[in-house]
Amino acid sequence: MSDKNEPGAVRAPLRLHVPEPTGRPGCHTDFSYLKISAAGEVPRPAVDVAPVDTGDMAHKLIRVLDQDGEACGPWAPELSEAQLKRGLRTMMKTRIFDGRMLIAQRQKKLSFYMQSLGEEAIGSAHGMALDEGDMCFPTYRQQSLLVGRDDVPLSELMCQLLSNEKDPLKGRQLPVMYSIKRAGFFSISGNLTTQFVQAVGWGMASAIKGDTRIASGWVGDGATAESDFHNALVFAHVYRAPVILNVVNNQWAISTFQAIAGGEGTTFAARGVGAGIASLRVDGNDFLAVYAVTRWAAERARSNLGPTLIEWVTYRAGPHSTSDDPSKYRPSDDWTRFPLGDPIARLKQHLIRRGLWSEEQHTAQQEELEAEVLAAQKHAESFGSLADGHIPSIASMFEDVYEDMPQHLREQMAEAQAFGGRQ
């Protein structure tokens, strides 16, 4: 090595590092970058574990179901047959719902849609593991949290998607930006990561009031780069907020591989440990693991032991949205090669292995759910759609900006109505 003061010292020019995915259209992704532990391998610490002692776990992968569908290790949850079947049903229903709405968008009945293909286990199991009254602060890809609810008819979601006269959000929001307080589902915003820190505030409020309810915040891998991700971790740690901080790492943020979000050579769970938060990295396509880890984090939060950050490792199997064509930036067969597989196929295999399910039952349930979704769609479409002009009133455009409508909005509403040709 030459000394910096040595005359004529020569150094190699610096070079900017720009991460790239190994797989681009026409070639295969090398998934060895994913650190994958064997099912049952990662220990299950006590819920009062010190955050610093989860440092190792943030680089391992909690998995319960092995490749044969056997539940292994300390994280295997005790779920009843009914709960397991309910979980499978929610995942299947979510996928069928997504499929139908994708077709409806292609038929121009809706302006826009976002599937959650391949990520159904996360919301389905997480929602089942939370208690009534807990509040989720979701992104636009946690529809399985809602599909798993008995008290939210699919047609209600579809009316929002259609922006029709029964749209609970009165046509104000882009499709998929649901808000259903009674189901513990916070209003979705287009602005990424804003809800992550709001979830912490909700949890802080619950603690201030001596409540027992907890919050669950959601963010994708790409959106962890937003400043509100950092804000959320700091506030959750400082105030030991009763919150579960979920990072859904589906490897892609639209066309951007997770390495550009900061995932290269590290994990998103590791960021939690750095912030002093107990952090776990989990197989997001393993329904049993998602359920068990959510229960663990919820118990930790409910026992005043503080927040948990969970990185759910999964794969965004579908396009980012109906406005996206993934064949322009990643291999078309990527999902089939993703080592954690398909969450529905894996739970189905587990149930069949235990003699609780069969191919015949699966096919019958598939048909039953398709009919249920179709019936809901017909019901929702009977209230109109953006396409056929049966949309909420002009007046409703001016309501709810403030609690009471100020003078300037009353004047603007009258002006809009005079031009709108309808009330």
Partner: protein
């Protein structure tokens, strides 16, 4: 609503700092859902003493220190509001609200609308604002126009201790998000722009006589600070006193309106005055181009065109960042305001 409805208890002489503190004290006592937090707000009582003693009185579950993260402070406040609390968050200087812009504009302001009332954001965000204190670029700004442009927000700025308390209590009780701008130049006394004269304290000023108990002022009503016949001056914050000094020095019978609520605005008080006088001068500390004065000017022109005897004048901060050494060349002082008053009378 009457200007001082339901006044309880005896009055005391208060500075604006004490009046603001009293408003938070009253609301913390009245409503168990009120929480107060921000940088240095808890144990220390705030860098301007506005929350002095509140943590000791109400405990750290109600009044607490926050990390230095404006986006985090407003973000958790939105979450608390969604839960059902009534957060009163402080941003140490208005100049530092920018990291919280996304939470204010995209979230707090739109939560009720986008959720069709499913969730609301009943929060108050206090921000010391304004110049005249040698605060330089990042301790002097007046960013009100960045809030008045956002649908769903209420933007309020008091000019005296009595209004400060009544408006802050109303802001805390309001179910809409309120940006509560506090002119720090007025914290300890009124200021008319004559920086070369000794500072005057609030003590003895009629608006420094503040009821100790609960009272509110409406969030959408201007006050006629000085009745007059010859011309109308629209002002708020420190500029109310600068306008008063300018009127005195010119001998003109100016009607000075202290807007108090910037948006939504009490348009009828403004229109009534300008239709009477036929002349209008708008004064604010904030930079001129696309400042709130532009909206005021447009509204006056739309509503009072046939009553106007002269072009509407705007006296504002220059379109530069707020300087340090040239403070008094930047700050719209009484000489510049007086010149504008004379100009509109000569037209």
């Amino acid at each position: 609503m009457a200007d001082a409805a339901d006044v309880q208890g005896v009055s005391a002489n208060m500075t604006m700092i004490q009046a603001l503190r009293s408003a938070m004290d009253v609301m913390l006592a009245r409503d168990p859902d009120v929480v107060v937090f921000g940088q240095d707000v808890g144990y220390f009582g705030g860098v301007f003493r506005c929350t002095d003693g509140l943590q000791a009185k109400y405990g750290s579950q109600r009044v607490f220190d926050a990390p230095i993260s404006e986006g985090g402070i407003v973000g958790v406040a939105v979450g608390m509001g969604a839960y059902g609390l009534r957060p009163v968050a402080e941003i140490q200087f208005a100049d530092y609200f920018y990291p919280a812009s996304d939470q204010i504009v995209s979230e707090a302001a739109r939560l009720r609308y986008r959720s069709a009332g499913d969730f609301t954001a009943p929060l108050t965000i206090r921000m010391p604002c304004g110049g005249g204190i040698y605060g330089g670029q990042t301790h002097s700004q007046s960013p009100e126009a960045l809030f008045t442009h956002v649908c769903g927000l209420r933007t309020v700025m008091p000019s005296n201790p009595y209004d400060a308390k009544g408006l802050l209590i109303a802001a805390i009780e309001c179910n809409d998000p309120v940006i509560f701008l506090e002119p720090k130049r007025l914290y300890n006394g009124p200021f008319d722009g004559h920086h070369d004269r000794p500072a005057t304290p609030w003590s003895g000023h009629p608006k420094a006589q503040v009821p100790e108990g609960y009272y509110t002022l409406p969030l959408d009503k201007a006050a006629v600070y000085r009745p007059g016949q010859q011309l109308t001056v629209l002002a708020y914050g420190t500029m109310v006193y600068v306008a008063e000094a300018a009127a005195k020095e010119t001998g003109l019978d100016a009607e000075i309106i202290d807007l108090r609520a910037l948006w939504p605005l009490d348009i009828s008080t403004v229109v009534e005055s300008v239709r009477k006088t036929g002349r209008c001068v708008i004064v604010h500390e904030a930079t001129r181009t696309s400042g709130f004065g532009a909206e005021l000017s447009a509204l006056v022109q739309e509503h009072c065109f046939y009553h106007l005897e002269a072009p509407i004048e705007r006296v504002a901060g220059w379109d530069t960042p707020y300087p340090h050494a040239q403070e008094w060349d930047y700050f719209p002082g009484p000489a510049r305001v007086a010149a504008a008053l004379r100009r509109v009378m000569e037209s």
